[in-house]
Symmetry: D2
Subunit: 342 residues, 4 copies
């Protein structure tokens, strides 16, 4: 059994981790920390966990996280980088669901996240936890930077095209739509039900933190910089990301075959039949990414549709997938629940 | 392995049965019938099942249902009663998720459902599949009438009070609210998104088919007729039923203890702490019923709040629970997935 | 032209008042105050008002409210009672959309609202602004306590029955459902989209602030205390209240005629045909209350269905209706916009 | 007073027309036809109209539409073209909200709409009713082809850029998102609440009927063919379209000033301040189009965000705007209601 601790269990990625880990046959959940809610039973905050998770939140000072085999950080940005070193030094593996270790360029990170990085020396050793690209490194990683939700959906959609060199890398466009849980479980007016329901809007067009993360990931694949216009939108649903990706074809290619071959052995990337329109609900609650590739009117614009559940493949599910890889478990352990539809 | 067939797999109870059965370790799914969509892969209609259910719909004429150990009917009312006899005669057990075998009073059934009953002689032998009341009979049943969604939520809330004789049975009120999936997967204007979203309404106040079913169930518990006002409402959510039940107390009683004791050994009925307000999302996708009992301002009106997922404990989950009981499997097999929240 | 000021224009009742007043031909909007957002154009916070309301929020200290003919308070509870006296003394009429002047029993108010009342002597002179009951007093009122949203829907549904003496006044039940805007425009986790969407729950069953207000109103009509069980629920829609009311009939009566006659001359109460099920969307954005009365199965329980838009007839619209009455304008002025459906 | 008839009043554009026309001071509504619901009071189907529209639906055979000054067609495609000639010959003006007269290329129309055109000779004389482009022609038009919803949002966003010649016309991308009312009030499974809620998907990527309409409109502005990739999406809201438009800049330009100047005199196009993200709810129920223009990271991709209410500026509101122009009324008559927010 893997002794697991969770730092920050009161947000949406935290409760989703608990949902998945509660069903994991190889995990012994040791502790879930919360500074504000220490002592409260977890299932009091999240009644969905009644009968599944019976422990209370523990104050960080009493958490004894160093006794765990693995600690997940499901915290706001800026927390994991404060605590990772002591855990790593104690031999504990760390998967950070926040953004602290995602960007290799420290200056860029500090610009986008508006703070100084607390442990820049650890960043180079962190493995970016996108298994479809970095599975080998994840196996031996001590510190995994779990990808962001938009970056997961966007990268999985663009990677086959970039690897195959069939699109112009300087003019990528990612028009992405997210359910409101992507904004986190924070008391804010902008994501109140009466503000977000029956409404649609773009945000962060001038620049979003996931932009450099996506560009970094795609640049690694290409071996050179990419040019990307990234426009995120908020859509009135709880979960789900739909990325609509546009690229300019540079040569003829069997795009359907390209995608199918690229992901043939990936347990969680489903290339749908030609002509498909994946729906976000088809992955609700599950770790799948479903992708369809189109070439409208036979023109030179390729359109990729990529959907994930932002809290699963875009956060907690991918973190469990990374854990499974790091601990040499079957990669789908505890991740083969059928999506909830309707 | 239990060889299972499903008649009518294209509705919401059908796809929910598939979701649950796909994860059931003792079930070998043999056939799913659909007259209209025979030949189409099930996962084409419901992409959430891609990778989990790989068979096509089979035309009823080729279904060979008599080779199954168990057949579920997830059909509109009036179908199961046409086909049950031949299956039962062939030794196949039947669980009917429709209403064909729910009412023992044939005349009442024919009045409420507007058709002649095709096999009234089978009705007396049908077991009403509410395990919290009829577990013993379900164990040996050949034909189970799976309860309706409202009747499940309402009965589980009233039963402890009626058994204990602490409320006036002639003046029960059930104010129930259902998500829109309760109306089924039928092309109708009234349940279109633009009609049902951001809207709330009562319906069927003059009389709803679930009224006689609830009254029958409560009358059995009481041993006499009950008086019930039942007002169903449509609320803009996909899944979930919230029943708010009102009764007049006839004597002092520790209501919290009453409910806790009544359901102490029930795996799927969760009596919440005093003062709780169960939310439908706390059972989303799961077979639980969560209940809280209140006595506002210490008056003589008891208020019970009872929530279920209409497609799970209110339909497919309860059907699987009944199957587990009928086949002597652990009752929670394939039913212990954590509810999806948020 | 009536010179109007609004104190607290950043909540949902505030923006709704602005929407209605912007179209009012007899209103000259003078000032909208906000301590936190002084200087910001109102239409920057609410882009729906671009082109209709072009002024900025004014700091309360610079508001010069005493120069107005009428001031609306669209503030949290506890503010209006601090400021009403100085305005009234200056000859300014006041309509308070908060609860400060709704309860005549000061001790009860202080218990339910958890603070000392700042001006108990003004309470007796405040007129409860439910025109269907108090139109005459509103005409000459200097201080109007605008009713709460639930109290409006519930009282309008019960009043004809109580006036006619046809139901048992000791055992009233009001099962009410509100859209999420009823909780206000406050940064709170409980009303975030991912918390409130696709979810249904009761709240405040032990006691809600609108309970004493409803009981006070019905007691006035009856001339004696009433017994009421009031259970509010949160439903995933933006606007709308649906009250389902239950009473025990004490004698035979033509209930449809009773309601039709009671409201025959009311511009904003629409008694629907027998057998109707009013929908909240049928009053979306409008000042109407639509009501239907049922007697299920001819039993002795009467069921009244009453719907309003909580922000219009339940708040800002009723406030404008009260203003029209106070200033001897046609009562429907600026209130005859057609509801928005779908 | 303008004597107005409506053909096909039972869909969403029909009820929206009724909502707007009921408040129009110069309109005398003569007749609303419906073959299926003749005799039923309009307000029985749409209770929001109780007190505002008191007539019943009339059977088309008894409609006497030739006595009207103006007839709106709010019908499925293929109806208006059957009936327009006889009305035009009788001197009745026609505004067709369907697609029958939108495409000048008959062959293209027949291909996309899958039927033969009944009156190709009338098409050349039809004026495309986008006032921001064709106001002069609309003034004298006898037959107006009211634009589609997507085409309105997309064209208004691209037009300033194309007129100014600052983007590459061969590589336009329009990523558009629509509320579900855009699919019409038709009994279909795909737009049921449980299918469309909490879900997001693209559709028609291979080709959508609004593609040729948009290309025709932009080609007229450019004076040459344009290349456009158009991807529509369904988003879980009732009303609203959000178009996110991408173009490649060909030269430096003050884009904000360009848009502001282009639409300076347009009553219904609101160019928002630089950096804005228009929300669909900011135009809910109103005839406005709100637009913001961005140039992310100062790159050579221009991003335009354009929102409308698909039923108002995208259908019925624009139709009324066209009527106002055709009858020399102030263009905003009956169209200056404030958007409904929240």
């Amino acid at each position: 059994m893997i002794k697991v601790g969770i730092v920050g269990g009161t947000g949406y990625t935290g409760v989703e981790l608990l949902r998945l880990l509660a069903a994991h046959p190889q995990v012994a959940l040791q502790v879930i920390t919360s500074r504000a809610d220490a002592g409260m039973p977890v299932s009091q905050m999240f009644p969905s966990l009644r009968g599944y998770v019976d422990m209370p939140f523990t104050h960080p000072d009493q958490a004894q996280l160093e006794k765990c085999d693995l600690v997940f950080f499901a915290t706001p940005n800026g927390i994991a980088m404060q605590q990772a070193r002591i855990l790593l030094d104690a031999g504990v593996k760390v998967i950070d669901l926040s953004a602290d270790f995602r960007l290799q360029d420290i200056a860029s990170w500090e610009k986008w996240y508006g703070m100084s990085h607390a442990c820049p020396d650890l960043v180079a050793g962190a493995v970016y936890g996108l298994p479809e690209v970095n599975r080998a490194q994840i196996k031996t990683a001590r510190l995994v930077a779990n990808p962001g939700c938009y970056p997961t959906a966007v990268q999985l959609g663009f990677i086959p095209l970039i690897e195959a060199g069939v699109i112009e890398p300087a003019s990528l466009i990612a028009d992405a739509k997210s359910g409101v849980s992507g904004a986190g479980r924070k008391a804010e007016i902008a994501t109140l039900f009466p503000e977000a329901a029956d409404n649609f809007k773009a945000y962060g067009v001038a620049g979003h933190r996931h932009l450099p993360e996506i560009k970094q990931g795609l640049a690694r694949v290409l071996g050179a910089e990419v040019g990307l216009t990234f426009v995120p939108h908020l859509t009135p649903m709880i979960r789900g990301i739909h990325a609509t990706l546009y690229g300019r074809l540079t040569r003829e290619f069997d795009l359907q075959a390209l995608f199918e071959q690229r992901y043939a052995n990936e347990p969680f990337v489903d290339v749908m039949p030609a002509g498909s329109h994946p729906e976000t609900r088809s992955v609700r609650g599950a770790n799948h990414c479903r992708i369809a590739v189109h070439r409208p009117q036979g023109g030179n614009t390729v359109v990729v549709l990529s959907v994930i559940d932002n809290l699963v493949k875009g956060a907690a599910g991918q973190a469990v997938q990374n854990m499974n890889i790091m601990f040499a478990l079957p990669e789908s352990t505890a991740l083969n629940n059928v999506p909830l539809l309707p």
